[in-house]
Assembly symmetry: C2
Homo-oligomer: 202 residues x 2
């Protein structure tokens, strides 16, 4: 019961290979879900056009990021294609304690780190219907050179090997279906008996 005390929110980790569309699916699902806190990651990668510091990410220098690692201020962090990505722990813990669910949208490496630290976290792996569609989608996005895309695809292959570590798999083929599935997974966590033991009073 320690992690599931009355009123404690659920930590939900949404991950998946680059090109699976996890950001798009989440962006469509979140507005309809109450009591949800979307955790903003810190990263050392450069902002893409349209990304805003403190909203898309906290954009940090390598030095700033290392200081957070050393200070134990990150719930997880991962290096990916030469950059760091991480989750500041403080906001996550306080939102969970307030009874809100917290969504992390993070890379696979970090997701597995969260699961090992907090086995009560719910891991959702978003993938396309077929592996071959990943490379296709990355090319169509057109934001990265071919060698970076090749690195991402090889990374995805490794990530699929850890697939059995995830609690749920959402298939992003039709966007509406994917949004429906992800929303259902999030809503259903609140209905788990261990979260609602107080309702069994008679």
């Amino acid at each position: 019961m320690s992690d599931c005390a009355r009123g404690q929110g659920t930590l939900i980790v949404v991950t998946g290979p680059s090109g699976a569309g996890k950001g798009t699916v989440l962006g469509r699902a979140l507005p309809a879900l109450p009591h949800i806190h979307y955790s903003i990651s810190a990263t050392t990668r450069k902002p893409r056009p349209g990304e805003v510091d403190g909203k898309s990410y906290y954009f940090l220098t390598h030095e700033q990021f290392r200081a957070m690692i050393d200070g134990g201020e990150l719930l997880e962090y991962a290096e990916y294609v030469g950059n760091y990505y991480g989750t500041p722990a403080k906001a996550v813990e306080s939102e969970l304690a307030r009874g809100n669910d917290v969504i992390l949208e993070i890379e696979v490496q970090g997701a597995l780190m969260v699961k090992s630290k907090r086995p009560d976290a719910v891991l959702v792996f978003i993938i396309p219907p077929r592996f071959s569609m990943l490379q296709e989608r990355l090319h169509n996005r057109g934001s990265e050179p071919d060698d970076v895309i090749a690195q991402r695809v090889e990374k995805a292959r490794q990530e699929y090997k850890s697939g059995d570590k995830y609690d749920y798999i959402v298939v992003n083929d039709n966007l509406e279906d994917a949004v429906r599935e992800l929303s259902a997974i999030i809503i259903s966590q609140r209905c788990r008996t261990e979260k609602r033991m107080d309702l069994l009073t008679y």
Copy 2:
């Protein structure tokens, strides 16, 4: 993996005390859910006005019901306020094998029997926000004498004691919210990783 082979549906057991409104919630949730088979129970109780044999229930004599018990043709059965209720196993198994989810709307005693036989079954307990509302709702239904209602309330008290055996609790306060929660629980089962291992091919 034996119970979770590719394409195998999920057995979902919806239960709860009399007066919790499980029939109403399910009735509203089912039409929007594809690939769902609603299992029709057999019972020895007399039809209520409007109930149709083979649709609401299979209405059987005590002799017919006992023959099904003796023949091992029931997935579960329970005696409740002097009558038998049970689930014919054959249709359930064939629908699961076809990849459809199967919903059983049954009494608590039978639900626990299913869970002990099939630990992969998902048990959902539907209850009102407060225990005291059960008696109130049963009175308002007006279909049964006071002593039968008193029996049902005492039975409900026992059923609450087994509450921790359920996987999920749905609170039926606002009907729309209850329908949303039950639907989410059902949809999320299809996204469990063990049901979608075939999608991890790379």
